[in-house]
Symmetry: C2
Subunit: 246 residues, 2 copies
């Protein structure tokens, strides 16, 4: 079951976006890549990369991506999107990458199928992680290896488009949320400021945003109304509703 | 330059959507797959598939897709989108596919990077084509090999979403068009009827739909106003314009 495809030149790479409710920021989970020269201990490679792995002989692409996420974060059942394959012949051929690959002994011409995941940073426990994974703000990325900067930027563009077209941001919210919580997530992902009043009016008019008989608890200011998102209502409404929006 | 990747298990497949201005229909370009038994000439395989090919050693994925389209249609510079990779371990393992692959001698576990293209059927000259390519209505597809039905259906869903979000349908229209022409393309792709009056009002209010000082010629009924699409205006308008539309 877990045999690699022979002469494998196919991998999956996972862009893990994490929303941090406390800092209201969008983050990215990256792992450290570090290599010293065996002779003089000179640092040859010291940067960060996405988590990826080759696919096993009898494994579906989606399953490979889910496996990589689980090994990294312990999480399953997160929102996942396969967004693009990257296969430039020279994508792993920067000077540092060549040193790294010589050391790890894998194929230079690897096509990678890239996925992104949406998680809440609070759900991820990195203390047991042996890969030295760290969160970085999407706006302050460290030095990256391979073509992973390109992959991250394309994932981010796709995420922005996707979260405007589909209600995926509710994956990043608790089951009960305020209108401000929704606005915070949009502002973090889109990196824009949204007019509060217009947004509130627009959102509470959506049939799939359901007001609850509950308000916030444990806040110092006036407690705000809580809402839930109904996927049932959303799916029903958009079944046949093609909104030409060009 | 044209050497295949060793032990190649990566290919591209091209879903070629063709809009036929005369019949106002959306079509798909498929090639015949035919195999007889050598002993008793029994027909073993007789169906249709997408056009695809393995990628060459020094070739980018996009370039491989462009090459396949050019070999099939003679066309270059068509709208192209890489929309998904397909890599189920059993995707080439139907009974007929196994007969075919034994004959063609390629790898059972092939991950294919799927693209779709938009062309006008009138631009494609199939008479010189040695692959026996044929157009089929998207609503009347023949029997298909491999997992190509799945690939086509996913490409079609992606196309529908895409043409609602971005002005790609203008690729299928002449430089000067009537509002009815635009409506015809939308109706063909989305397979819906659009309310004529609302559509006209909505479209002529778009700043990037520019009325020309010209009307249709050579029509028996009252000649309609001609318009052009300005990509410059469109790009300018949408540069920073995130329309939250969930």
């Amino acid at each position: 079951m877990t045999e690699l495809i022979k002469n494998s030149n196919i991998s999956v790479d996972c862009v893990v976006f994490g929303y941090d409710t406390n800092t209201k920021s969008l983050n990215l989970l990256l792992i450290k890549r570090y290599l010293e020269s065996e002779t003089d201990h000179k640092v040859l490679v010291d940067d960060y990369v996405l988590t990826g792995y080759h696919i096993y002989e009898h494994e579906k692409l989606d399953d490979a991506a889910t496996r990589v996420l689980k090994e990294l974060t312990g999480l399953t059942n997160q929102y996942k999107k396969q967004f693009k394959a990257f296969g430039d012949p020279d994508r792993l051929r920067n000077e540092k990458d060549i040193l790294w690959i010589d050391n790890e002994k894998f194929n230079f011409r690897t096509v990678t199928i890239a996925y992104y995941f949406l998680v809440k940073t609070e759900d991820v426990d990195l203390t047991h992680n042996k890969n030295q994974a760290e969160w970085f703000s999407i706006h302050q990325l460290p030095e990256l290896g391979f073509d992973h900067k390109k992959i991250i930027l394309e994932a981010y563009e796709d995420l922005k488009t996707k979260c405007l077209a589909e209600p995926i941001i509710f994956e990043l919210l608790p089951n009960k949320f305020t209108i401000n919580d929704v606005q915070d997530v949009y502002e973090s992902i889109l990196d824009i400021e949204i007019d509060n009043r217009n947004f509130r009016r627009k959102l509470i008019n959506k049939k799939y945003i359901i007001p609850l008989d509950e308000k916030q608890i444990g806040v110092s200011k006036k407690p705000a109304q809580l809402y839930m998102f109904s996927k049932d209502v959303y799916d029903k409404m958009y079944e046949k509703n093609y909104l030409i929006n060009i």
